[in-house]
Structures are given as structure tokens and as C-alpha cells.
């Protein structure tokens, strides 16, 4: 599980990185002078076109790490590099698919997608045309004039995906995007994501608490320890072939072997995380 540090990667110049976190530490100020360290010295490198899943127990700071990569949160220590340039402010190269509903409820599906282009100055007519194309790609061509509340949870995620992809970001950040969906819809969305991703491989950082989802989607699975002071404690390469069908790949023997191996490392942390979430006062 030894992982080369991002510094080594860039210094050799052999392997460029899309996202490189080096000793990234994230801390929040609590009431008074107390400080809660969510993530401690995390090192993570994602190569261009690589699909990396982050798995960890509840409340371990997975989403926090994603927000750091997005530039929504500044790390208290360490550095963030995006395509080998230090990140300051928002990460303009990244698209972010949120866990919670992030669509604008007062805009129709097509307006929600088109706005992502309009803010860049694309004329409205052209933006609407391209948005319709992206909605068709995610299978919602016939629903473009519905408002978000008229769509199902899965359909809203599809609109969200179109909204993110239409800007053609080099990096995709996904925070348990399919978490709120039912099991069948999750599988359908997983396959849709893999289809879209395989067309033009973007670097993906996919946060989930579902190990099966992580293995079936990703090229690499990264494991985080329970917080506070969560660290990255494991890094596995997924050698399953592509293109994958995430329903069928789960029947593969290699899938099961990898699942068992990672789960052995993960389960203690899951128990720790669970114990902490059930005790009211966490000692910090």
C-alpha cells in the first residue's frame, strides 16, 4: 500500500498528476479555541484519466477532502496541486457533482444545464442547443422542460451530471452522488457514468461509503481511517477489465478477492467510526 508521493511523481516528470494532495490537513475551528482536525496529512495523487474512489467510514472527512480538491475549502496545512500548478481559490478545471440536490429549483432541466455555459458567455440560443444534446446523452431528452421537483431523484442526478459535463471539466469530483438513490437506480447511474467517462476519460475522484460501488467503478480504491484526524491508510489498484458492467463485474472472482482484501483493512475503521458516531462526546 506504499504510494509514491506526488512530489516524486512530478519531479521525475514521467507521470503528470491531475490532482495532487500533499500532506493536506483540514481543520475546523470549534467554539472557543478548540480545533477539530478532520483530515491529517493526506497524500493522494490522481493521474489524468484515472478513476479513483475514496472509501471510508461515516464522518471520516471524505467529503472534506473533495472540497479541498474543489477549492471550496482551504487546507490548514499541506498543498494542493491541480495539473502541477498550486491551487488558489476555486478549482476551475473541476466539475463537482454533489450528494444533496444542487440543481436550481427555479430553472427547468434544460435551463439548469444551459446556465453552466451561459455564465461563461455562451449565447443563450447556443447554450440551450448544447444543453438539449447533453440531456439526450443522459437519457432525459424528453424531460428538458420539467422543473427539478417534477423529476425523480435519479432523473435529477442525470440533470446534475449533464450540468457538470457540459463544461467539459478535466477533473470530475463526485461526493456520494448516487447515495440517496435506490439500489437499482444506483446501478443504472453507475453504468451511465462509466459510459460517459469512457468516451473522454476525465480524472475522477469519487467519494463513497460503499466499497462494492467503489471497486466496480474505479481504477484505484483509496481507504481512509476513521476521524478525527483521518488519514489515507490504503491504496489498491483495481485490475478488473474495461469496459465494465457494474452489475456483472460483481460476479467476478477477482472482484470478490479484492473486496475481501480491502474490507479486512476497512472494517476496523468502520467500527471505530461507528463507535464515535454513537457516543455523544467525541474527545477532541
Amino acid at each position: 500500500m506504499e504510494m509514491p508521493g506526488p512530489a516524486e511523481l512530478t519531479s521525475t516528470g514521467a507521470v503528470p498528476t491531475a490532482v495532487a494532495l500533499q500532506d493536506a490537513t483540514v481543520a475546523f475551528r470549534l467554539t472557543g479555541a478548540r480545533v477539530y482536525t478532520a483530515v491529517e496529512k493526506a497524500n493522494l495523487a490522481v493521474a489524468p484519466g484515472e478513476f479513483v474512489a475514496i472509501v471510508g467510514p461515516t464522518g471520516c472527512g471524505k467529503s472534506t477532502l473533495l472540497n479541498v480538491a474543489a477549492g471550496l475549502l482551504a487546507p490548514a496545512g499541506g498543498s494542493v496541486r491541480i495539473f502541477d500548478a498550486p491551487l488558489s481559490g476555486l478549482n476551475r478545471q473541476a466539475g463537482y457533482l454533489f450528494q444533496a440536490d444542487a440543481l436550481f429549483p427555479w430553472k427547468t432541466a434544460i435551463d439548469n444545464v444551459a446556465i453552466a455555459l451561459e455564465v461563461e458567455g455562451v449565447p443563450r440560443r447556443e447554450a440551450l442547443g448544447r444543453a438539449q444534446g447533453f440531456l439526450a446523452q443522459v437519457g432525459l431528452g424528453a424531460f428538458s422542460h420539467r422543473y427539478p421537483h417534477m423529476l425523480s431523484g435519479g432523473q435529477r442526478k442525470r440533470v446534475g451530471l449533464a450540468q457538470v459535463l457540459i463544461r467539459d471539466p478535466k477533473i470530475l469530483l463526485m461526493d456520494e452522488p448516487f447515495g440517496p438513490l435506490d439500489a437499482q437506480t444506483r446501478q443504472i447511474m453507475g453504468n451511465l457514468l462509466l459510459d460517459l467517462w469512457s468516451a473522454d476519460r476525465k480524472a475522477v475522484l469519487f467519494v463513497t461509503h460503499d466499497l462494492e460501488e467503489a471497486i466496480s467503478l474505479a481504477d484505484r480504491v483509496v481507504i481512509m481511517s476513521a476521524g478525527p484526524g483521518a488519514r489515507i491508510i490504503g491504496d489498491w489498484r483495481v485490475t478488473l477489465g474495461r469496459p465494465r458492467d457494474i452489475t456483472e463485474v460483481k460476479l467476478d472472482k477477482a472482484f470478490h478477492d479484492l473486496h475481501r482484501e480491502i474490507w479486512d483493512a476497512l472494517k476496523d475503521e468502520v467500527m471505530k467510526g461507528y463507535a464515535q458516531s454513537t457516543t455523544a462526546t467525541t474527545g477532541t
Binding site: A70, A94, Y96, W106, T108, V119, H149, Q163, R167
Partner: protein
């Protein structure tokens, strides 16, 4: 229950009440009238008064004045509420400094301001408009303020990740959210605009529905008071229907306003 049945039952309630009122006001029971016409008038007199107002055309002038005052109060109150609501929501320091004063002003029963406004602005329409503005302003202000504060963090983060700058955030995120809150309180704020106008007229004026009621009361013309009340109710209901129509157009994206469609 079908619409027709419901409507006929609703009409029935009105007819029964009017018949009972007329009966107890005119037919003595065991030697004395239950509802003496001096205090309670009777439906036939009230209807005659209303018909008289409309036939002679007296009422139109008063209705027009009250409507105009309400519209002005609503427009000015809303404009100020939106402007200051936005300002406070985007500048937390300003909001914090003015917070106790806003609370104090809002806690004050607005009726006590009527004499002051009459003194400052005279007995014309502007003292009534001012009273209405003080009522409308706070409703719109609090809703706009809340509407901006309540924009979900996820939606805001998403807007920023899409690449919106501050002006675009304002236009595509804060503005629609604030407006939706303001529109959802449209019934209340329009209602208060009318209340401000009528109360102002009642306390001192030369025209308007409130004036009409106050005049009738001054000469113990109970039929006139009731007639004024009924015309006022009908007036408010008409405005409310109009507001509902506007609301349905403006808030199409709200889940409660259209049938839920799930795919």
C-alpha cells in the same frame, strides 16, 4: 364531493344566515325582537344600501381611492422590503447593527403611527399609503432576508463551481430565491396593504371604504356599516383571487403549485 355540491352548500350557508338574520330582526318572538334593527339593521336594508351605492355610483370613487392606496402601499413597501432585505442579507454587519431597531419597529402596533402620518402627510391618500407601507415593508423585508439566507449551501457551492461570479450569483441564485419567498407571502402583504389603507381612512380622511364605514357609524347608520363591511370583503376577495392568479404564474417551479409528476 363535486364542485357543484360544494358550491351549493356554500351558498346555502349564506342564505340560511341571511334568512335567520332577517327573521330575528323583523319578527318579534314573545313580544320582543331578538335583533333590534337599531343595533343590527337587517339584510334587506343592507342590500338596499349596497344597491343604492352602486346605482348612484357613489361607491366607485371610494373603491378607486382604497384600491389606489393599497396598490401604492404594496408597491412602495415591496420595493423597500426587497432593497433593504437584499442589503441586510448580503452585509451581515449592517444587519447586526440594525437588528434591534428593526425588531423594535416591527414590534410597534402600526395603528399608533396613523396620527403621526396624518400630521406629517395630511388627510389625503399619502398618510394611508404610509401606514400601509409600514405594514407591507416588514413582511416583504423578512421574507426576502430569509429567502437569501436560506439558499442551500449545496446550491450556492454548485453555482460557484459552475463558475458564477458575484453578479451572476445574485441574478440566478439569490434573486429567484428571495422572490419566491416574497411571492409566497403575497397574500399576506397584499392583505396588509388593504388593512393599512382602510384603517388609515377610518381614522381620518375624506374618501375611501374606511371613510364610508366611519361616516355611517358616526350617524348610527348600522345598515351603512354592514354594507361597507360587505363591499370591503368582496373587494378583498377579488384582490385575493387576482393575487392567486399572479402567484400561479410566478411560482410554477414550486412543488405545491402543480401536480407532482414522477418519471
Amino acid at each position: 364531493m363535486s364542485r357543484v355540491t360544494l358550491l351549493s352548500l356554500q351558498v346555502l350557508v349564506a342564505i340560511v344566515s341571511l334568512v335567520l338574520w332577517q327573521f330575528f330582526a323583523t319578527v318579534p318572538i314573545m313580544g320582543h325582537t331578538v335583533l333590534p334593527p337599531f343595533f343590527f339593521s337587517k339584510p334587506t336594508d343592507v342590500i338596499r344600501q349596497i344597491v343604492d351605492w352602486f346605482v348612484t355610483g357613489v361607491i366607485w370613487k371610494h373603491l378607486a381611492i382604497t384600491l389606489w392606496e393599497s396598490i401604492l402601499a404594496f408597491a412602495i413597501g415591496s420595493f423597500l422590503g426587497v432593497a433593504i432585505g437584499f442589503w441586510f442579507a448580503r452585509k451581515p454587519l449592517v444587519a447586526a447593527v440594525f437588528d434591534p431597531y428593526v425588531k423594535m419597529a416591527n414590534a410597534l402596533p402600526r395603528v399608533v403611527l396613523a396620527p403621526i402620518f396624518a400630521l406629517w402627510l395630511g388627510l389625503g391618500i399619502w398618510s394611508k399609503v404610509a401606514l400601509g407601507v409600514t405594514l407591507v415593508f416588514f413582511i416583504v423585508f423578512f421574507n426576502v432576508y430569509q429567502g437569501i439566507k436560506e439558499v442551500s449551501t449545496t446550491v450556492r457551492d454548485n453555482a460557484r463551481m459552475i463558475g458564477m461570479n458575484e453578479a451572476q450569483l445574485m441574478r440566478h441564485v439569490y434573486w429567484p430565491s428571495a422572490l419566491s419567498w416574497m411571492f409566497s407571502s403575497l397574500h399576506t402583504s397584499v392583505g396588509f396593504a388593504v388593512v393599512g389603507a382602510v384603517v388609515g381612512e377610518y381614522l381620518g380622511s375624506a374618501a375611501g371604504l374606511g371613510y364610508l364605514i366611519q361616516q355611517a357609524e358616526g350617524v348610527f347608520d348600522v345598515a351603512g356599516v354592514f354594507a361597507g363591511m360587505f363591499v370591503l370583503s368582496a373587494f378583498v376577495i377579488l384582490i385575493d383571487v387576482f393575487v392567486s392568479l399572479v402567484e400561479r404564474r410566478l411560482l410554477v417551479w414550486r412543488p405545491t403549485n402543480t401536480a407532482e409528476v414522477r418519471g
